[in-house]
Symmetry: C2
Amino acid sequence: MSSSRNGHPNAKLAPKAVVGRVSLYLRQLETLQLQGLDKISSRQLGEPFGIKNAQVRKDLAFFGQFGHPGIGYHVDALISVLREILGVDKDWPLALVGLGNLGRALLKYRGFRSRRFHIVAIFDNDPRKIGQEFGGMIVEPIEALRKSIASHKTSLALLCVPAESAQQVADLMVAGGIRGILNFAPAPLSVPSHVNVAAVDLSIQLENLAYKVQKTQEGVSYGG
Amino acid sequence: MSSSRNGHPNAKLAPKAVVGRVSLYLRQLETLQLQGLDKISSRQLGEPFGIKNAQVRKDLAFFGQFGHPGIGYHVDALISVLREILGVDKDWPLALVGLGNLGRALLKYRGFRSRRFHIVAIFDNDPRKIGQEFGGMIVEPIEALRKSIASHKTSLALLCVPAESAQQVADLMVAGGIRGILNFAPAPLSVPSHVNVAAVDLSIQLENLAYKVQKTQEGVSYGG
């Protein structure tokens, strides 16, 4: 346990929604640090995301006691401890499988690097792509995945292959020792319980928006 | 109200998590319809996503009474009613702003078209891109956005510009009449309350995975 962390670090796995919001607080803290602030209130932490201060306090309390009554939070200290909690105080090598449009977009996605996620190896099954250079790396055949995961000690992978080959590639990832898969393929994956999958299904997010837009156009008020 | 819908359609806006799961049930129903099934249980609906049957029943009950005791759900009827509820029983034109790597990947993303989301106009501020053809459309300058939204009756937009111009483009979208924005820029947006924003921050999803992988590597069990 970090000496900078007070109170009762929670041994339980935090719910996804809490971790997601803590990621947002961390971004806001980093923005304010750049602006030179050294203290911050829970209201300021949640405001840009429309999150109420009571929710901010509750979310942070899941991990420990960080605030000081009448003072707020120390920006630098809270950044350090939240980075440590989220695991982004160290580098995470990533394997990327599938160099279609989305895979190539992810290769250049600046948001990963700024959070210490680094794509270290890229794979495809297209003979025209294997051996080519993308983003400073040579595309390897899918068959090389297992060995590469071991040599780079890769825990996380980006799955950007078509739906029909997603499960097969996920199986290879799991066999190689991958512990977390960010799945861009529009297909559910079956993995052992020690492996975590986060699905990025963009059409689901659009459906959610379409539902809200349709509902508000029908003149139904929020919160009913 | 649809004559095919029984019971008590809920006038309230369903929580995002419920709508997200209903989108998943709809996908599973469509898969099973292709396989020729005509009836399905709540267990079968949730199983591929690890969702318990009690949760499936509770989610669907938010919108009405669709199941039949001892029989389950009629696949065709439930597909129709869920499509209507989600608003995906009709076409949704989309505006796409920002033709970087991600924008171009979205242009080819098959998952949108299969859900009746169609990109109808594309915009960029790069003079080298304006006037060029991408995906069968001519890139228009950002200044043309407002007029284009009105002429295509576009309610939904994909925002794929860098963080520093995201708010400015969002303002133009809102001024043009956009009601829902899928935001890929790593920046929070400030919009009026009648406009919905869904943020796609891929590094947040990776942080969530990293957190879980780190937690499980520490040997802490799920559910504590």
